[in-house]
Symmetry: C2
Subunit: 302 residues, 2 copies
């Protein structure tokens, strides 16, 4: 099965403490979350880098999940390592240490069979690298980009350049306000759509998520999820579910993007119930469809 | 046509400045907004008080809208008068003056034909008065209550007593957090439902509104509404549309409450497009149904 969607992002060790426990050097990173989740829908290819210390069982896990790992470079040195903790209400993470290690000089190299993949997801990395990847691929049907406040603060011109080149922009509400200079959501949406993307996906944490184009708005409430164990990776899992579905179906209609929003919501809710990517050791397609129906019930009016 | 829903609240003069203009002694007050909006669906009865200075044309307007005004007392003194302004982004209002006038010693008196009305809406007045009204009526099918941060701050025990007696609680997100002591929405919902009401309606401003019971959640995004003229009364109009629909249909199913949420959203959006209650000089049922369909389109997945 050839690679249908390429993700470029981080593969990391996460050392974290949440109100539910602690983990040392758990599998983390945006590309790990995205590709694991997307693998439930289609064939992902991962582009990233790890150090010589990276645990082989993590590569085995991703390979077993049917992720094409030929774009993962092993570089001299140590793997990117994030350490952080979450407060009792699972609000914002407090970062204790960010050791970039091999990720500091990471420059994504796409295997040749990745360059013709029809779907591309640029996870949160330096916008200059996102632009490089876009130049490396051969006209995908759809390019989506995620970012974070760091790049808005230190690389705004390059980030705007990258955003101009993509079809879908993933942001949270704070990033939407920062990027657009507009506090009001309706104004922020309007300005961001003028920057290039045809569609926005705006993540709003416990409220849910919205997708917006010039003509359509769609809102999915968050999955009612009382048993959060580890919120790390919720956003990348949302993107993995959303883009995985779009890549699987190849259907770019408004209605199908709405289904993708629901699947993003579902996959985010599954990720946060366990540490790291532990939920995906046992998850079945049936559980995904069960939650999909539950979210549909939450928004249905007849 | 006998009164189907009773609203107890304020009838006021509003003097206000918004980025779109200024108004002196415009018709305002929670009961005015609620009953005007509800009159598009059913027969409302209004309970409130005004002073000797109250403009007769405002009473004529409400009477023409088919609001039973026999519960409006005219008292010696002046009408409740609120003065305020809104900033450029129509954020929170800045209050310049609140002259309670006759409203200071207002004690609601229900005409006898109001006491048997099947639906009751207690707009934002002192919780002690809300309790008094509940004791005055004969077992309505449904009682809903609105409140504000003022009563949470200065009359919390009485407010909790009132909330215990009602079926539906209307709050905004800030009030939900204050009342429950929980910042996290899921926890706030759980605690508020333990306080007595079977259903919550949580207004979230430009994000939309949510309704929650122990078993169901439903979210309606805000109507895309770029031309706000005067945000005053948006919440009372939401409640008027919501409760007006429930009173009209008498259907207390989850699906019908979802329709009510959409109609609340629609009526709020109509109110804020003009000053005061000006939108309702010309509004037709067709325009309501047109917006209802637009909101349905925003949440439909097939």
């Amino acid at each position: 099965m050839s690679v249908n969607i390429v993700v470029v992002g981080s593969v990391a060790y996460d050392t974290l403490a949440t109100p539910k426990g602690r983990r040392e050097k758990a599998l983390g990173g945006s590309a790990s979350y995205f590709s694991t989740v997307a693998s439930y829908f289609t064939k992902p290819g991962l582009v990233g880098a790890v150090g010589e210390d990276f645990k082989p069982e993590y590569i085995e896990f991703l390979t077993k999940r049917n992720v094409d790992m030929s774009g993962l470079e092993k570089l001299p040195g140590k793997t990117f390592h994030w350490s952080g903790s979450y407060s009792d209400d699972f609000g914002d993470a407090t970062t204790h240490a960010t050791e970039l290690n091999v990720f500091e000089h990471f420059s994504p190299k796409l295997p040749s069979h990745f360059r013709t993949a029809p779907f591309l997801f640029l996870a949160n990395i330096h916008p200059q690298l996102q632009i490089k990847v876009i130049q490396d691929v051969q006209k995908p049907r759809l390019i989506a980009l995620d970012t974070m406040n760091l790049w808005i603060n230190i690389s705004l011109p390059q980030l705007k350049e990258a955003i101009k080149l993509v079809d879908i922009l993933f942001v949270n509400r704070q990033e939407a306000a920062m990027l657009s200079g507009e506090k009001k959501l309706a104004n922020a949406i309007h300005k961001l759509l003028q920057m290039g993307p045809k569609r926005l996906v705006i993540k709003m944490g416990e409220l849910g998520a919205m997708t917006a184009t010039e003509t359509d708005r769609f809102f999915v409430p968050a999955f009612p999820c009382p048993e959060i164990t580890d919120p790390t990776g919720a956003g990348d899992s949302f993107a993995g579910g959303f883009m995985g579905w779009i890549a699987k179906t190849g259907d770019l209609s408004e209605n199908n993007f709405r289904k993708a929003m629901i699947l993003g919501t579902v996959m985010g809710s599954i990720t946060v119930e366990n540490f790291s990517l532990d939920s995906y050791h046992t998850l079945s397609q049936d559980e995904i469809m069960e939650r999909y129906s539950q979210v549909l019930d939450m928004i249905r009016v007849v």
